[in-house]
């Protein structure tokens, strides 16, 4: 009888504890601080955006968001653990609390923002869906693609855009669904499909990795809006603010001409917005629950937006993307951060 009794008690305890864990509702910031590192949902490998380099260190403009958040919270940009996620599992991984933020070229859409219980905190790359074809096919426009086989990553917005675009133009196609970017590359190179479609940034990134990048052309048509940005879980606005303003600090840093090399000099600037950002005029860190040096740490360790862009995907990298839409609003782009005051 005692055996059954103890069994019953332990069962009740287990249930109680498990529901307590499931129901725990602590702030993400406290959780992150306690853990000592930021858990960051990254791509499984997209050169220039989020991929490990030769030394196994994660790099890219998406990865820089995670590093910026770590720099803001801990003063050390390296305190990040990367969790590679496929397009399929990325939302579940975030919803379940396995990662604190998702920074992996994910398009901000209404249904994801509202229905999936996510919160997109900004845009770190304005993208659009494009098409890549072998130059030998002699295709110069996406409207000539009637009847083509198209490689596409499953579970993405591109899949629906593709269906809409071909339907709107009265064209047919065969979709060849693949799981990851590298599988898509393999199928495309083998000639299983004529066309590879995904966000234009992804196409440039893939092309840079091919044996002969010049044998492939990215067609001029951009068929969708794909604002890519970091996302967090719904319901913890404090944490969302930290991620949002970590990104904004990088953009404002570029606006104000603060780089990783001149950040200390800039503390002597006469511009009050610079002084606010760099914590010389105190108070703004406390609003976020961080110390006053948070933006200094981001800018000195990660750099401003322009530095991150030029280092990972700019014209001097194999990926070779122009700033285009992603230039600051005053340089003809649409990159625009709310004022720091």
């Amino acid at each position: 009888m005692t055996k059954i009794k103890s069994l019953f008690i332990s069962l009740v305890l287990t249930l109680g504890v498990s529901s307590a864990i499931a129901g725990s509702h602590g702030s993400t910031l406290d959780l992150v601080k306690e853990r000592g590192k930021v858990m960051c949902g990254s791509n499984t490998g997209l050169t220039g955006f989020g991929a490990p380099n030769d030394a196994g260190v994660w790099e890219g403009i998406d990865v820089d968001i995670c590093r910026a958040v770590a720099a803001a919270v801990f003063g050390d940009a390296s305190k990040v653990e990367y969790v590679p996620t496929t397009t399929k599992v990325r939302f579940t991984v975030l919803q379940s609390g396995e990662v604190d933020l998702l920074a992996r070229n994910t398009t901000w859409t209404l249904s994801r923002d509202v229905d999936l219980g996510l919160e997109f905190v900004g845009v770190n790359y304005y993208d659009g869906q494009g098409f890549m074809v072998p130059a030998a096919l002699g295709v110069s426009s996406a409207t000539e693609l009637d009847g083509a086989s198209v490689c596409i990553q499953v579970g993405t917005t591109t899949e629906m855009n593709l269906a809409d675009y071909f339907k709107a133009n009265g064209m047919s196609y065969e979709s060849v669904p693949v799981e990851t970017n590298s599988e898509a590359d393999a199928a495309y190179i083998a000639g299983r499909c004529d066309v590879y479609t995904t966000d234009a940034s992804g196409l440039y990134s893939s092309r840079a990795g091919y044996a002969d990048p010049s044998a492939h052309v990215v067609l001029p048509e951009i068929i969708s809006k794909e604002p890519l940005g970091p996302a967090v879980r719904h319901g913890d606005s404090e944490w969302a603010d930290i991620v949002r303003w970590s990104l904004n600090a990088m953009i404002i840093g570029e606006e104000l001409g603060i780089t990783s090399t001149n950040v200390e000099e800039m503390k002597g600037s006469k511009n009050p917005e610079v002084l606010r950002l760099l914590g010389v005029e105190p108070g703004y860190g406390a609003y976020l629950g961080l110390d006053n040096e948070w933006a200094v740490n981001i800018l000195s360790q990660v750099g401003n937006y322009s530095e991150s862009f030029e280092k990972h995907i700019g014209p001097n990298t194999p990926i070779n993307i122009q700033r285009g839409l992603n230039a600051l609003y005053k340089d003809g782009g649409i990159l625009y951060a709310p004022p720091f005051r």
């Binding site: 939302f91 065969e174 979709s175 799981e179």
Partner: protein, 389 residues
Amino acid sequence: MQTNFIRKIFFDEKSRSLLIQALVIGIFAVFIYLLVQQTAANLERRGISSGFDFLSMGAGYDISIRLIPFTSEDTHLRAYFVGLLNTLMIAICGCFLATILGFFVGVIRLSSNWLFRNIAYVYVEFTRNVPVLLQIILYYSILLHLPKIKQAIVLFEGFYLTNRGLYSPLPIFKEGFSIIVVSFVLAIIASFIIKKYLKKKQEHTGKQYPIFLINSALVIFTPIFMYYLMGMPLEFELPVLKGFNFKGGMVIRPEFIGMLLGLSIYTAAFISETVRSGIISVSKGQREASQALGLKSNLIMKLIIIPQALRVIIPPLTSQYLNLTKNSSLGIAIGYADLVHGFGGISLNQTGRAIEIMLMVMLTYLTISLIISFFMNIYNKAVQFKGNA
């Protein structure tokens, strides 16, 4: 009276065990209830919508491998059926091919020819000891390295082999074709009646008739005769290379062929072992006795060995069928649009209803498996010894 009753519950072995069983079921039910409730509450707290309303919403994506028409405007529910049919198609084709290959290899494994026997041995040991996922990816990769579409291999007139699949002519049925189908079905029915009649006659007279020959001729020539009688109501649409792809005709995609090869070659290795054990289980005396009766070796196999071996073969064969069906969910690795890939992958991603969709997919696999078991059990009963064996 009351104490007696309680005493009886605790000290009577039968009622005590009943009590414990009831208790365990009760605890399990409470556990499931709490799990469901907790999940629902957590989903709601995190602002994640749930429910099955998404089934009637537009899917928004296209599926290339399909047995029923499907466009991006159709619903997720239709996407479910497209996936289900693709799963059933690979499961049925796979079980069929695996059974034939498995029986063949199983018999060869017992062959007296050293070379054949050992080739079969190497095949079995290699395929059943390498994970099926790797085999599927291997076959698919080989298929992807077939010639590109512009350099298609011409097998026959109208048959092209490329890394986008096997293109073949599409039969187009014209008016009057249904009569041919009917005559074909009638011929099959007639062949059964003839078989029964001739068997009976054989039992009476002892004279053997070439039943197989007669029936084959009947089943083959009746439709051919009707075909010409009806004025050849069948045409073929040939695939023609136009632009990027072949237009017209039929195509079997490399994703399907890769899955079919991977699953059936893998499962056939297990089936061949089952068949071998079944044949060995028939005692040597049976064979010797039938040889003594002067039966030819193919008749010994057909009439004496196989019917007895089936008793041993069927139950493990059932579980191999179930394995193959469940393994078909690996289609996701190479983009075969089965239930898990389309509905369980793409729809899941577009709608975010992970729990609902996974439950539906799991219940579907459960149902398919139970149906297979049900029919295999009926067949199993039919081949068991009748009477007091």
